[in-house]
């Protein structure tokens, strides 16, 4: 089963673990992507995510198909992505994979996050702090600074 979700709510790692757990599996591997407090020498205050939901889910479904082709013994896959504001230290994405033995789930989770980053499933935008006011910064590619004055 694939458990795919886009939500504005805080992600619960334990819940996603329990979704993919299966009696035939001896391993669950998890990746949790969190908001880091720095980017390119600047202090990041929060990240915001939005998604073209239909495409994001399609991308995630295709990713699950790829995973199952490469690791046929993978049992359940969970990919939950948070939308909206994700403060520093909180999770923006959780990926969980269960398999009978640990090798497949460990490799599949690694593959999953690498592919997810490449495939543009969600749009990420960061708000950084500068000495005067806040600067808004677009994602990781093509950084485009927009001065947002605070008076």
């Amino acid at each position: 089963m694939n458990y795919l979700k886009l939500t504005f709510e805080k992600l619960e790692v334990g819940e996603i673990n329990d979704l993919v757990a299966h009696e035939s599996c001896g391993a669950i591997s998890l990746f949790v992507g969190t908001t880091r407090d720095n980017f390119d020498g600047k202090t990041v205050v929060l990240l915001q995510y939005e998604a073209y939901e239909a495409m994001a889910l399609k991308t995630m479904n295709n990713l699950c198909d790829e995973i199952r082709t490469r690791w046929p013994d993978v049992k359940n896959i969970g990919i939950h992505h948070r939308l909206g504001t994700v403060p520093v230290k909180e999770a923006s994405v959780v990926i969980a994979v269960s398999s009978p033995h640990r090798k497949s789930s460990l490799e599949a989770v690694h593959y999953a996050i690498d592919e997810l980053k490449k495939k543009r499933s969600c749009l990420e935008e960061g708000t950084v702090r500068r000495r005067r006011g806040m600067l808004r910064m677009e994602g990781e590619q093509g950084v485009h600074l927009v001065e947002k004055s605070q008076r």
Partner: protein, 95 residues
């Protein structure tokens, strides 16, 4: 059968920066003047930028999706039908 100009009405979606510049998240029944229902991705983008001139600032950095398929090659011809969905997406990606 003559190949005339046909107007196809598509539904536009704008994300992130493109939404700010276009001033709207969605625009229904946007008319595209096509040649027998066909236009390249680049031509579609040009028509959208004509109507939403502020998008010109990011025109060369956006990607469009036609019915949930990314149009990686803007020169490729798109076969358009009424009610199709065109999304304008700045090329920034997180996880």
């Amino acid at each position: 059968m003559s190949q005339g100009h046909s107007v196809i009405r598509v539904n536009l979606l704008f994300f992130a920066k493109s939404r700010e510049l276009a001033g709207t998240a969605a625009y229904d029944e946007f008319p595209l003047v096509t040649t027998a229902g066909t236009l390249s991705g680049g031509e579609v983008l040009n028509l959208i930028c004509e109507h939403f001139p502020d998008l010109a600032a990011i025109r060369n950095n956006v990607i469009i999706a036609h019915n949930e398929q990314y149009c990686e090659d803007l020169a490729a011809q798109l076969h358009l039908a009424n009610g199709d969905e065109i999304a304008v997406i700045p090329p920034i990606a997180g996880g």
